[in-house]
């Protein structure tokens, strides 16, 4: 792309796993100081490609050239020695140790801790990443934990920094801090390979994008010159349908949650603290927030898996707080939990059986308690057809489906039962763009038909796209819901918290 000699040249890398070609003759060039986006849907081959660059996976064929020399790392040690560092999506940190100790554990030859702490402080000052080396990692926010990982990489002074979906756990303010750091690094000549599917981010940060689809490079472009919609279509390879939010009128109150308190289900989870809100007919209420702030508990209390105190959950004027999941289903309150395999669906059971799992209260699938398997198969087939679930048929086990397809099945199963209130947690997590659009449209159509929908999600873009009102769940507290139309991303970020007392990088060189 420019006259400068590329830092890394990838030439025709291929990698096949049994039954699937993850990468098919992938080539790309990264220049020093370039912020290079790697864009693609789930399963497009992004992870395989960066794992090959980082020495975690060996390519079947093809070659790499780093700094004019042949580069074939056999393991991450080799990659790090050659100047390639990577920040993973999932952190590998010990919660009981402090920041400096965690950094030392990830280094080849760690200096004495006192010296290391001084270096951590120096790097964190230089790059505007506020971090105290003596703090215990268990007390840090997700954004701060990511900084530990980034500083661990920066101490090695890498020439290429690979970042895998770094913003998925960050608030908008934390994203700004991260981007300032990355821009500063790039200005100093460090190349950054940035993996994401968030198009607006890529457009604001990256100066080059390589788009992968089904393991192949389908396009190279400058993301700043394209619209997010164009990029999405390149990624999906088809025209994207925009969600249609017309035709909804808010009606009377369907569901009231009043002063809901709930002890955490697990030792590390937060408890729900006096959560209150109302949900009206025809409304989509978006509940945002980083996962682990009480989302699962909120869903479990609404679905009936965890009964709550008297009078806390009121459905159409009836107190349902003490009722289990099935009586609530009978009254029209349905839910789709976040964890698809093992919670929303039984992994080893067929789709027909999984249709029976929640479908017996509102669909005539049983007679006097006896299951009508023919009706159950028909219901499963109906879900598969209506929600374009890609599977050979209803006899297939749930765990044989891809995440996106199973999610379409789970959402379809609940939507087709014509709920009056539907609660979904992370409805499009890990789902490819086309399926995510279909799921969002299904939720909007449901609301347009007069139901109330609660969408709990980490994806703020998604919530802004489909919800009428927005509330943030942070450490078990729910902010008062506000109309989405009047909100800015900035305001939402502030309501999510976790970014207090932090400023974006100053002294950018």
């Amino acid at each position: 792309m420019s006259v400068t000699e590329p830092l890394l040249r990838v030439e025709g890398l291929s990698k096949a796993y049994p039954g699937v070609t993850a990468n098919d003759t992938v080539s790309l060039e990264i220049a020093p100081g370039q912020v290079h986006a790697l864009l693609g849907e789930n399963g497009a081959g992004k992870s395989t490609l960066v794992k090959m660059i980082y020495g975690l996976v060996r390519p079947d064929s093809g070659a790499m050239v780093l700094n004019g020399q042949g580069y074939a790392p056999v393991d991450p040690h080799g990659a790090r020695a050659a100047g390639v560092a990577m920040v993973f999506q999932h952190f590998s940190l010990f919660e009981a140790l402090n920041v400096a100790e965690n950094v030392a554990l990830g280094m080849e030859n760690p200096p004495p801790l006192r010296q290391l702490s001084a270096r951590i402080r120096a790097v964190s000052d230089a790059y505007g990443l506020p971090l105290d080396p003596s703090r215990i990692v268990g007390d840090l926010s997700a954004g701060e934990r990511q900084r530990v990982e980034i500083i661990r990489c920066l101490l090695q002074e890498p020439r290429l920094l690979i970042m895998d979906e770094p913003t998925s756990v960050l608030t908008p303010q934390e994203v700004e801090i991260l981007f300032a750091t990355l821009r500063q690094l790039a200005a100093e000549g460090t190349a950054i390979l940035y993996i994401s599917h968030k198009l607006e981010e890529i457009r604001s940060l990256c100066d080059h994008a390589t788009i992968l689809r089904s393991g192949r490079v389908v396009a190279n472009c400058d993301p700043r010159e394209r619209t997010a919609h164009e990029l999405a279509e390149l990624m999906v390879g088809a025209e994207l349908r925009l969600t249609d939010r017309a035709g909804r009128v808010s009606g009377e109150v369907l569901l009231e949650v009043v002063g809901l308190n709930m002890a955490p289900a697990s030792a590390f989870g937060p408890s729900l603290k006096s959560v209150s809100f109302e949900l009206c007919r025809g409304e989509v209420l978006g509940i945002g927030g980083v996962a682990g702030n009480g989302q699962e508990d909120l869903l479990a209390t609404l679905s009936g898996e965890r009964p709550s105190g008297e009078g806390t959950v009121v459905l159409k004027g009836e107190d349902v707080s003490g009722l289990g999941p099935n009586p609530r289903r009978a009254r029209g309150l349905l839910a789709a939990p976040e964890e698809r395999l093992g919670h929303a669906a039984a992994p080893d059971m067929s789709l027909t059986e999984n249709a029976v799992l929640t479908g017996t209260m509102r669909r005539p699938l049983t007679r006097h308690g006896f299951i009508d398997w023919r009706a159950a198969r028909a219901f499963a087939a109906e879900i598969i057809a209506a929600y374009d679930v890609r599977t050979p048929g209803p006899q297939v086990a749930a765990r044989a489906l891809s995440g996106g397809n199973l999610q379409k099945f789970v959402i379809g199963r609940e939507v087709l039962q014509a709920p009056e209130v539907l609660v979904v947690n992370q409805p499009t997590w890990g789902v490819d763009a086309a399926a995510a659009a279909a799921i969002r449209q299904a939720l909007l159509d449901l609301a347009a038909g007069g139901a109330g929908v609660i969408v709990i999600s980490q994806d703020l873009d998604e919530l802004l796209e489909i919800s009428d009102r927005f509330a943030a769940l942070n450490e078990g507290r729910l902010s008062p819901p506000r109309p989405t139309a009047s909100l800015t991303l900035q305001e939402i970020g502030l309501s999510l918290g976790g970014a207090h007392g932090m400023k974006p990088a100053e002294g950018v060189a």
Binding site: E305, P325, A335, G342, H343, M349, T366, F370, I371, R399
Partner: protein, 359 residues
């Protein structure tokens, strides 16, 4: 070097092939064991597996087959339901003993009155006794989180002491010349669990076993309650989402398997055994665990497995008599069967690849 590769879904073929493979492997390993004991292995296998069915006195032994298989099937049918839900009742032997004690107590209390109501009352008492004994681990589990595996197993030893106490004490035959043991119910027409078809060995307990198989089949395959039991075993979180209350599930499974084991004990004491003695518990409750797994927790499988285990009991007795094999040899034999079964079960979930693993 052997590499195990997880199958995307459990193999249906191997799920049913492994029991057969396990039986064959047990025959081979058993043969080796008998050879080490200085017996002709082929003859031993023949005596155990062939002679009871087709040998000289097969007519008598074939009847014995159902007598032994009846309680095994009845108990295993109940255990299988709990095992599917992931609730491990290891104490069926205790529930079997308590069921027998309760059934016999009703009969001995009514003795010598004659009434058609006595036998149904015994059936009820047997089932209730086993149910109650099964509810002890259920309550301790739901109230205090105690492991039902340990509690139900330890209650077997409590039941055995209860049995010995009853046989020497309150249930002792007053006209028994001081010998331990109760009156013989076979000589008490109102209480006798008679053979329904002469020479077949089929008594009311065997019929109850068949009924239990059909009942549990319908429950597990056709009814929503059985479906939920299955979900609870496969994915506990999904089961809660589907509306299963864990405490009720534990009580149902332990209660059901306890009641069926109690019934088996009652039919045994009123029929083939005839009396309460301190050696009444013959290990059916434990062997039924093998039967349930060998039969893949499936009714048809349990029927076949029950008959097979009955055969090893009868064949084992014969081998003891004719070849002077030690009595423990047959228990080793049964143990090997479960061992091989669990080992070969690996093939259901994994494919085995020979050679070095490649990254």
């Amino acid at each position: 070097m052997i590499t195990l590769i997880a199958r995307p879904a459990p193999s249906r073929f191997w799920a049913w092939a492994t029991p057969v493979l396990a039986v064959l492997a047990t025959m081979i390993a058993g043969g080796v064991l008998f050879a080490i004991l200085g017996k002709d292995p082929l003859e031993a296998i023949r005596v155990i597996f062939w002679d009871p069915l087709f040998g000289a006195n097969a007519g008598y032994f074939r009847g014995q087959l159902f007598i032994k298989a009846g309680p095994l099937i009845l108990i295993a049918a109940g255990l299988a339901v709990g095992f599917r839900a992931g609730i491990w009742n290891i104490g069926a032997e205790g529930q079997y003993i308590v069921g027998a004690l309760c059934g016999a107590s009703v009969a001995l209390a009514a003795y010598p009155a004659q009434s058609v109501l006595i036998f149904p009352a015994m059936v009820l008492a047997g089932a209730l006794g086993g149910w109650a004994w099964g509810m002890i681990p259920a309550l301790l589990k739901t109230r205090f989180g105690a492991s039902e595996i340990l509690v139900s197993l330890m209650l077997v030893y409590v039941a055995q002491n209860l049995l010995a106490w009853a046989a020497f004490g309150p249930l002792k035959n007053p006209q028994g010349f001081g010998f331990p043991g109760s009156r013989n119910l076979q000589q008490y027409p109102s209480a006798h669990n008679i053979e329904l078809i002469a020479g077949s060995g089929i008594h009311w307990g065997v019929m109850a076993g068949f009924a239990a198989l059909i009942g549990t089949y319908v429950l597990m395959n056709r009814h929503i309650a059985g479906f939920r039991i299955q979900v609870a075993g496969d994915a506990p979180k999904a089961a809660r989402f589907a509306g299963v209350a864990p405490a009720r599930l534990v009580a149902f499974c332990l209660g059901l398997s306890g009641a069926l084991a109690g019934l088996a004990g009652m039919f045994e004491v009123a029929g083939p055994s005839g009396q309460i003695t301190d050696s009444f518990g013959a290990g059916y409750g434990f062997t039924a665990i093998i039967v349930a797994f060998l039969g893949r927790l499936n009714p048809v499988g349990i029927l076949l497995a029950g008959l097979l285990m009955a055969l090893t009991y009868i064949g084992g007795d014969m081998a003891q008599l004719m070849l002077q094999l030690p009595a423990a040899a047959i228990q080793v034999f049964q143990g090997m069967l479960l061992f091989f079964l669990l080992g070969f079960d690996l093939l259901t979930n994994y494919t085995v690849k020979w050679g070095w693993a490649r990254a």
